[in-house]
Amino acid sequence: MSGSQAKKGPSGFTLVDTVVTLSVSSVLALTIAAFLADNHKAFNDVYRSAFCPAAEEDIAARGVFQKTVRQASSAEGRASVASDGSWMEVQYYSDSDVASPDRSARFYLSGQDLLLERTDLETEETVAVEIVCSHVVAAGFHLTGDSAQMFLELDDGSSSRTLHTSAVMRSP
């Protein structure tokens, strides 16, 4: 072994190698990080809007409104709505066996809760008051012919939704 070979160390990275590698790595890392961050944010937004409390309230409110209105009578004077659209009342059949509407249902807003008050038409006593949904910041009701419409603005602090639904009342 000659003296010059013994002194020669391992061939590692040169400064140019290191700078090139770092540059390529940095560009790759930044691109991936930006893509992932944007992707993650979009996914979270969609997930939150699909599973937020407002989304659940939306589904619940539609269900109760549709079910109640479809049981209601479309006869003259059986349905009424406030002139400013803040509440709506329909008279409905509590059972398929009853001959005429025996209950009334009134939708109205109390604070941020949409309430449904059910009343017995014969005794005029309140049978139940239920919370249809919460996080309601605005509510509007409308009657068109034999159909009733409900418009709600829901906001749970993290997500907001606009709900509009319509249902045809059953025959008198």
Binding site: K8, T21, I32, L36, V46, G140, T165, S166
Partner: protein, 149 residues
């Protein structure tokens, strides 16, 4: 014991090409997984837009049905207090149907176009239709119902 390395006692290490290839493979894997998630997000958004379009068509149809399919039904007049709605051009009316009107409605920052049309299929039976479309949707969402008159 056999030790991988040079005779001078140092391990061989990785070359620049090896490191770069490893980085590229890693990047492709990460980006591939992220792209899958991106497509999922996109599909959920499309589904949400489609649901909003279907909701809009349902609201129009149920309300129109409540008027027994009246030719004077005017959604703009009925809903303008609660919706951002205006009369505008919409999808073309199918052949053989009468146009009621076309509307543009803004729902959650998206603009939907709805065309309402009708035809009397029998002397006492009217077919009502609503076609809803929105910018990202290539197809038109159509809903049909019948009213006895």
């Amino acid at each position: 014991m056999k030790i991988r390395g040079n005779n001078n006692g140092f391990s061989r290490g990785s070359s620049l090409v090896e490191v770069t290839i490893a980085l590229v493979v890693f990047a492709i894997t990460v980006l591939g997984a992220a792209y899958y998630r991106y497509l999922t997000t996109l599909d959920v958004r499309r589904a949400r837009d489609m649901l909003a379009g279907a909701d809009l068509a349902m609201t129009f149809m149920e309300t129109w049905q409540g008027t027994d399919g009246s030719e004077t039904f005017d959604p703009e007049n009925e809903f303008s207090a609660y919706m951002d709605i205006s009369s505008s051009a919409g999808a073309s009316t199918p052949d053989g149907y009468n146009l009621l009107d076309a509307y543009s409605v803004d729902v959650a920052g998206r603009t939907y176009h709805a065309t309402l049309y009708w035809v009397d299929t029998e002397s006492d039976l009217r077919e009502l239709g609503t076609a809803v479309s929105w910018p990202d949707q290539r197809k038109t969402y159509q809903l049909t119902t019948y009213v006895r008159r």
